[in-house]
Symmetry: C2
Subunit: 660 residues, 2 copies
């Protein structure tokens, strides 16, 4: 993949060079380096931490404020019972194989994929076919040298079998994978040892609350559950009116067993999740859908994927919803808002698409699901999932706790309903069942309408019925005509009760930030050693670089004035007073993505004018302090672009930059 991926200027992208820039400019690093670093955990240094804060503020403004969502912060520590009910205790797991001799733990699907792909490449080589990505292959071969003998030709049937296995691996159960490992003699590539059969390992971090040992807990795997459990509070806050949405920006955890792919698969990650609660009877209409109907999106449908295609179709969301390609207006509205958010933070729109989930990718209860995928050197990566979770979560929690996570609303027209009642005769059942009388009535209350109707017939025909009552008279209770009556009654219903459906756009902030960094990275045409991070002024971690022409005490007062004024306008800046040329100073700060440079030179001392440099074009203008600052403030707020400024203020030609 890496070799196909191009920078925004169409240049070859070299991940090694890019990663070395990220390290050199302390964007990020593996956590706890002095202790040998921990896989899947990363620290963010000043540029990335601040970039994240800017992106989160835009997210808050774009979603929470603009859409009037209810911001929520729920606990990360989560009791066992909550995640048992949600299904995470049983289903949030990966299959693992253990190498019994080394103790190494390998993800079963990764293991099968790695070994078979290596064999297929070796086969290609043996057949003298060109291998697409020679360099990458070299690396893999070195690593797996012990297990894979170079250039082994396979039978045609074996090759086809491998290819089929790889194509269908995602659908395999643990047993399926165990069989594949036996069948193809798949071993741990680093040791050559046979591995134990796949076992399911839960991916949640377990701990306990308190010291009694009675409160097992997990670190949450998603922020959603806390939002569902707050449903009644939110309903209250919205005066009982649906639809409404909650939104939560917080950390979730996933105990990856062998993390790879850098920032794309980590053990501790920031998410921004929206839960939009809607009345399923409303057709999931959205009140603002008409405002976005004509916006076009690149949509890669399930049908296209089933036909082997990977090129998205560009449609207006109106067309997509009308044709039922996108299930409903609310889902469609969010897809548009997600795309707008991505554009706002500077994502390259040519590297964005929406991909519909295949049937086997979705949870069984999900109605439809679209991922917003961003293209990076790792390929197309899911960065936002936008799923219709139906009423699943609220229903299971309501069932488990008995707390009504539902809406009660007055019916517009009262409605007559006919229902079978099943009642014990209190006077006679009391003496007979004593303290168990309540249990018997509860058992009757639990009978469905159908069963009540059938029992009424039995009672009429046989004079008695038998009802299951746990813990009373051996579990089965006989009731005669004197004890029980079944009756059809009609009553007027004035309230409607329903469990809302949930549409959930869920953002992986780390993945978005990583993709963004790849998208804004490029190198100067005249010197590929000069890298640039073209962050938009609105998200750039530092807005202004201040460079005095050279070290000279006479600049001190002007520098102080400039600093005070930038502080007043709340513009973050960095002063670079090092001895190197201005060109060099600009150049190395381009790697931090600082969009604007202000130079203080000898003319500044005379007329209080400064030059303002644009990072991307390296063009400069010269103007008064007030004009320069006004321009910077407007560009940092996204209210004006460089081209406008350039037309407004006089150009300035610098020799320094070319020399640098």
């Amino acid at each position: 993949m890496s070799s196909d991926y191009k920078t925004t200027k169409g240049q070859d992208f070299d991940r090694g060079t890019f990663e070395s820039l990220l390290r050199r400019k302390v964007f990020l690093w593996q956590s706890f380096e002095p202790y040998g670093a921990v896989k899947g955990l990363f620290d963010y240094g000043p540029p990335l931490e601040t970039l994240e804060a800017e992106v989160i503020n835009i997210w808050r403004d774009h979603f929470i404020r603009t859409e009037k969502m209810m911001a929520l912060k729920c606990s990360m520590l989560t009791p066992y019972e909550v995640l048992k009910t949600s299904g995470h205790v049983d289903k949030f797991a990966d299959y693992m194989c253990k190498d019994p001799k080394t103790g190494e733990i390998l993800r079963s699907d990764h293991l099968i994929k790695d070994v078979l792909e290596t064999r297929l490449k070796s086969d290609k080589e043996a057949r003298g076919e060109k291998i697409e990505d020679a360099e990458e292959d070299q690396k893999k071969k070195k690593k797996q040298a012990k297990a894979a003998k170079a250039a082994v030709k396979l039978d045609d049937s074996v090759r086809q079998d491998y290819e089929h296995t790889l194509a269908t691996l995602d659908d395999c159960t643990g047993d399926d994978m165990g069989a594949l490992i036996k069948k193809h003699d798949i071993r741990n590539p680093t040791s050559g040892n046979e591995v134990e059969p796949p076992v399911s390992v839960n991916l949640m971090f377990q701990t306990q609350i308190g010291a009694t040992g009675k409160e097992p807990a997990f670190l949450r795997p998603e922020t959603a559950q806390g939002q569902f459990l707050s449903f009644q509070k939110l309903l209250e806050y919205s005066d009982g009116q649906l639809p409404f949405a909650s939104a939560s920006i917080g950390y979730s955890f996933r105990n990856e067993l062998s993390p790879r792919s850098g920032l794309l698969r980590v053990r501790e990650f920031l998410m921004a999740e929206v839960e939009h609660f809607v009345d399923p009877a409303s057709g999931k209409k959205h009140p603002k859908f008409h405002t976005v109907r004509d916006v076009t999106l690149p949509l890669l449908s399930r049908t296209t994927q089933n036909e082997g295609g990977s090129t998205p179709e560009t449609l207006t969301i109106g067309e997509a919803v009308d044709s039922k390609l996108v299930d409903n207006e609310t889902l469609g509205y969010f897809l548009v808002r997600i795309q707008a958010f991505m554009a706002k933070i500077g994502i390259d729109m040519r590297k964005l698409r929406f991909r519909q989930h295949m049937q086997n990718e979705m949870a069984h209860y999900a109605a439809d699901c679209w991922d917003c995928e961003l293209l990076s050197s790792y390929g197309w990566i899911e960065c936002v999932g936008c799923a219709d979770r139906s009423a699943f979560d609220l229903s299971v929690h309501m069932k488990a706790t008995g707390v009504p996570l539902q809406v009660r609303e007055p019916l517009k027209e009262p409605r007559r309903v006919e229902e079978w009642t099943a009642l014990l005769d209190k006077k006679k059942s009391g003496p007979k069942f004593k303290k168990d009388a309540g249990k018997v009535q509860a058992a009757l209350d639990g009978l469905s309408q159908d069963v009540r109707e059938k029992l009424s017939i039995s009672l009429r025909d046989e004079g008695k019925v038998s009802v299951d009552v746990a813990g009373v008279e051996g579990g089965k209770v006989e009731l005669g005509k004197e004890l029980v009556t079944f009756q059809k009654e009609s009553r007027t219903e004035t309230m409607r009760e329903y469990i809302p459906n949930v549409i959930e756009p869920s953002f992986g902030i780390g993945r978005i930030l990583y993709s963004l960094m790849e998208h804004v990275y490029w190198t100067r045409e005249d010197d590929i050693a000069r890298s640039v991070m073209s962050f938009l002024p609105t998200v750039a971690p530092i807005k202004v670089l201040v460079v005095p022409l050279q070290k000279d005490a006479r600049f001190a007062t002007l520098l102080q004035t400039l600093s005070d004024r930038l502080d007043e306008d709340q513009i973050s800046f960095r002063v670079d007073q090092s001895g190197v040329s201005i060109g060099k100073r600009y150049s190395r700060n381009d790697e931090l993505g600082i969009p604007f440079g202000i130079t203080v030179d000898y003319q500044s001392l005379e007329d209080n004018s400064f030059t303002l440099r644009d990072r991307d074009s390296t063009k400069q203008v010269r103007a008064s302090l007030d004009e320069i600052l006004e321009a910077v403030v407007k560009m940092c707020k996204g209210k004006m672009g460089w081209e406008e400024i350039r037309r407004m203020l006089p150009a300035f030609e610098s020799k320094e930059e070319q020399e640098g």
Copy 2:
């Protein structure tokens, strides 16, 4: 305490009423309520989540941007070794007693305190003395009725013993507390059972990374350790120049065993921690100290506390540092900045003080420590700790890992140093020690200057020396003159190496938010049922309440225009179209702390003018849409106050408010 605490208007504060407001307006609640709620874990609803975001943004601006701190985000999951080195595995613990019959776990110091205080109160009652806080006492007595027989008179000597025990409880070891429990026959007050002796229980949440069982880990108890381990990256980012500060806003965890006091003692909490790294040889001067020298602070010194006083002295920070009351300029500078931050977010300055730690409160390595305490109905509570951690953390991590967490800087003047060298003769030691020769040299390298000098004398006098070398020749190696030489050599040093000292202001965000909510809460003089949360416009969760005079379709267009304009200015707002009177709508939204109200009435339809209402004074002005919005924007940015607006725009008298 509760009964002494007053609102900002001097009214009695009733915590029950206040907490009921917080619940009703969904500021916060205990997490996982449908599952029975978990102690010490809280969810924030929309008003509090947004308040937190506003406060954090001000913190970022006040500290990170203005002070050019390096923002960092480090992992919460932390390997065992890191926290073993930092001392947390051994020392971050509380003493607990177990009730062997009920399995209940009690904090030993709380247990002793509760039981002895109950007995002392009972004694007072028996003596017929007035009990200060009768109501509170009633509650306690009810709870502990089983254990404490009402009104038992104590001997004078016993009473004095109890009082002395309570006064010195903080200095007790686990064994001391065990002895006290035996001596005073202290039992679990809820069961009456004897308890087991105190054992130390670590307060960190434990988990493990991966599935191998080889990576035990904790959730971090503070954000500081990650910052220390990033020291080399930060030094690189600052081009090797000290002082500099890192700053981290993130979650920490503390597995409280019996949490109480609501938001003040929780298991999962947001902190904002600054680590300011400074050369100890600089006298911990601060370059901006002169800008704050004349600012006054309420300082409660160790001396005053030792003398039993609790009234802080108001001093300028210049005086305090000059007299060495505050240890150094850097610590002093931060105290001033902390006070300014508290004022900015709306803390009542009459409810803020700085308290110096007593000697026995500080970690053994700490040079000085001041807490910024805020007064609430729980008393004076530490909300920011500002400690001088000296070089402790960097030193221990450097020792444990061998990674140099230190600064190397060129000396201004090269300096001659004389040093004893200890060298093996390579030709002769090689054949003798073979592969162990390196270990022997390493052991020699590890000898201090003093030891080398002594050994040189032994070698001269006795012809041989004996050196400890782990794992070679039984741990002790004999070296004769032919194998080793000790020599005094002088060389020129051009670099200086030192481990920086760290000044650490550490903010507990949850405690600050809770105190702030108590500080801004009051009730209207004319109707104590009408509560107000007087958040400053800069931090208020929602800035504007929009109220149409009544439900009338003719208002729809104006409401839409108003909404669009507020959105354009990025001002958050809420529309209240419910049927109740305007006065009532304002009144119930005062509880959310919305600072401004805009009314749309019939005159608005005629001349596009609106009224703007100030929450605190309930005064109104009437002006054009443009004027109203400009006023709101300026007030929400903190650039203008209501009094200025009121002088600028014409007043408006409303009948509705009084009627509401």
